[in-house]
């Protein structure tokens, strides 16, 4: 399950949907990325995300496929929001369901690291000193 959406998401509903078909799920590891009010010494008032339509979806699908291939997990879901996002709001959700927890932790961390590295999504920070497109990997 891959989604690029404007709307917020509900962790409970998304996790339940991903686990739905599996009675052999023993573990789910969820990563939630949210908008912080402070980053690298600057106060942040809000964020905006832009993506490359078409390529971003393909990159996310590829990342999901790769995670399923490289780790012993049952399913992977990735949701990334775009548009304006207020402080404390949700940005990104990654859910990995598996039989055993070790693989789920590894796969989930891999997924968010790779997303930041390879998916064409850009973040703009609104700060008191002006608006800046973030162009370094955290």
């Amino acid at each position: 399950m891959i989604k690029l959406q404007l709307a917020d998401f509900n962790i409970e509903e998304e996790t339940l949907a991903l686990r739905g078909p599996f009675r052999n799920t023993g573990a789910a590891v969820v990563f939630l990325g949210t908008a912080r009010d402070f980053s690298k010494g600057k106060d942040i008032k809000g964020l905006e995300f832009e993506y490359y339509p078409g390529m971003a979806e393909k990159s996310l699908e590829r990342l999901r496929d790769r995670t399923l291939k490289e780790f012993d997990v049952l399913d992977v879901g990735i949701i990334h929001r775009f548009g304006k996002i207020e402080i404390a709001e949700n940005i990104v959700l990654i859910i990995v369901v598996s039989q055993h927890r070790k693989e789920a932790f590894k796969a989930c961390e891999f997924c968010i690291d790779e997303l930041k590295r390879s998916v064409p999504i850009w973040k703009k920070e609104f700060t008191v000193d002006g608006d800046v497109w973030v162009e370094d990997h955290p």
Partner: protein, 86 residues
């Protein structure tokens, strides 16, 4: 025969140029590298951006080498350093 390449701009580049996309025409074999040079000549402000940052380039939504040869109708995208996630 005149060939066309569609070039897409995102984030900081789009904002700097005030432009999300534009078309480039060419008559014979064109590499991604040569196209980037033409873009930089047309938009000098982009030269600074690409010189100081780690940019990627995509051809038809696949990250590509600067040596790639382009063909009529290709979609090229200038990708500023990625910062999705949180």
């Amino acid at each position: 025969m005149v060939n066309m390449i569609k070039v897409l701009y995102f984030a900081s580049v789009k904002e700097k140029l005030g432009l999300g996309s534009e078309a480039f025409e060419y008559k014979n074999g064109l590499t991604l590298s040569l196209l980037i040079t033409r873009i930089s000549e047309k938009h000098p402000e982009l030269r600074t951006l690409t010189a100081t940052k780690r940019f990627l380039y995509a051809v038809n939504q696949e990250v590509s080498d600067l040596s790639s040869t382009l063909k009529d109708g290709d979609e090229v995208a200038i990708l500023p350093p990625l910062s999705g996630g949180n």
